[in-house]
């Protein structure tokens, strides 16, 4: 029960923080829609063209905007010492990583998930594809959150080169993108592709607490 309470307390804090940074969430979403407009304008108004490209566009923008928020992942809490306070309050570095990953998923990815239906209207994505898009995105975005956790904890030690972390995430997410977009375009293979994606998710999810926790520990030691 205490553990559950602690987890709830953790998320209460995250919630307060993220809401005071509510504009960041909004900025992400607005970025998402503005870019969709850019694409529509550069493609021209023909419906078929748009709907062919729609899914690819949604996926890339999702990836890019989650890299946008990487800096918030640990950096702020690290700099004002709150990461340490969390640790001293009984959260091992690994569990901090897991909780933070879920929090990123919750406060950064879920808003996107919610805005997908609207985006799909703009992009003329067929209704029957929407479900596949949702499924692949739910899995894929969680993988991205895990990768984001790993790379931004690595960046706490690196500190100089902020973009490097984003690049690493992006390189690793190439296969995810390929599979996810594949899911939607080749519906026959849906099951096998989704299970590959799920496999990747499990691997990344298992690695995440170790890798991120290790980096968090090291960077707090050296601060």
């Amino acid at each position: 029960m205490i553990i559950l309470n602690k987890i709830i307390s953790f998320y209460y804090r995250e919630y307060k923080l993220n809401l005071s940074g509510f504009q960041d969430i909004l900025t992400n979403i607005v970025f998402f829609f503005v870019s969709i407009f850019i694409f529509i304008f550069s493609i021209g108004p023909e419906k078929e063209k748009i709907s062919i490209l729609g899914i690819g566009i949604v996926w890339t923008l999702l990836l890019l905007s989650s890299t946008l928020s990487l800096r918030k992942f640990y950096q702020d809490d690290f700099e004002n010492g709150n990461l340490l306070i969390m640790h001293l309050n009984g959260f091992s570095f690994g569990s901090i990583a897991i909780l933070k990953t879920f929090s990123h998923f919750l406060f950064v990815q879920i808003p996107f998930l919610i805005s997908i239906p609207i985006a799909s209207v703009l992009l003329n994505i067929a209704n029957d594809k929407l479900m596949y898009l949702f499924a692949s995105f739910a899995l894929g975005s969680f993988i991205l959150s895990c990768l984001g956790s790993i790379s931004s904890s690595m960046n706490l030690m690196n500190q100089r080169n902020f973009l490097l972390g984003s690049i690493i995430v992006m390189i690793f997410s190439v296969p995810i993108i390929i599979f996810s977009v594949g899911i939607i375009n080749m519906e026959e293979n849906f099951n096998s592709l989704i299970s590959i994606l799920f496999g990747i998710l499990l691997i990344v999810f298992a690695i995440n607490p170790w890798a991120s926790g290790f980096c968090l520990k090291l960077s707090i030691e050296n601060n």
């Binding site: 690595m154 690196n158 500190q159 490097l164 690049i167 390189i171 690793f172 190439v174 980096c215 090291l218």
Partner: protein, 232 residues
């Protein structure tokens, strides 16, 4: 063979072989260039642009080979705790990146007359581009991480993960039906290439290898020295 894993042994051997390797590479280069420009025939389809091959193919092979060796050294360093692996990887990554860049540039130069475009998004070209980015990430990580002990482990793991890309580069032409030339020279059975083209190709390949080794020796030695000063 101890010099391949032991820094001080490496230094000894390197002092011996550096000059011969350098001289050999210059000679091989001279002969190779001579062959590729004057002593080999034009291709009946491709005309004289085929001569780009003598740069393109060796650099492509070496780009892959370098990464393969780096993967090997990562395993040695991580699993068998041989720090020389880290030294080697730090020193050699830029060399691999340069080979990859040469491969890409020469390939594009070749692609323009052959395919009518500098670049297409077929599987091989894409995977080579990714290989290049992986090399760059390795270099950037080496430059920007502060804590060396962590850095080299992280980089080694990254190299291991990135090695997934190698078979994709190598076999993409067989797995997917792409624009790029399938294996004609490196086929396990009989190569389907004319011997008159084979000779300069082999010579150039050796020239590239020798140059690679020479630069690698220099870089590994400086890396060893910089670590020594760090420790003392």
């Amino acid at each position: 063979m101890k010099f391949l894993v032991n820094p001080s042994k490496f230094n000894e051997i390197a002092d011996y072989i550096f000059k011969p390797v350098l001289i050999l590479s210059i000679i091989l280069f001279a002969i190779g260039l001579l062959f590729s420009f004057y002593l080999s025939p034009d291709d009946y389809q491709q005309g004289s642009t085929v001569r780009i091959m003598y740069v393109h193919v060796p650099s492509a092979w070496l780009a892959l080979l370098t990464y393969a060796i780096m993967t090997l050294y990562s395993v040695l360093a991580l699993a068998f705790r041989l720090p020389f692996g880290f030294i080697f990887n730090t020193a050699v990554a830029p060399i691999g990146a340069v080979f990859t860049l040469i491969c890409i540039i020469s390939g594009s130069l070749w692609g323009k007359p052959m395919w009518g475009t500098w670049w297409v998004w077929d599987a091989r070209l894409t995977s080579v581009a990714i290989l290049f980015v992986i090399y760059l990430i390795i270099i950037f990580m080496n430059l920007s991480f502060e804590n060396r002990i962590i850095r080299e482990k992280v980089v080694a793991i990254f190299i291991l993960v990135g090695s997934v890309n190698l078979p994709i580069v190598k076999f993409s032409v067989d797995w997917w039906n792409t624009l790029h030339q399938p294996a004609t020279i490196s086929k396990l059975s009989k190569p389907s290439i004319d011997p008159s083209m084979m000779t300069p190709l082999i010579i150039m390949t050796f020239a590239f290898i020798m140059i690679g080794i020479a630069i690698a020796i220099l870089r590994i030695k400086t890396e060893i020295i910089s670590r020594k000063s760090y420790l003392s």
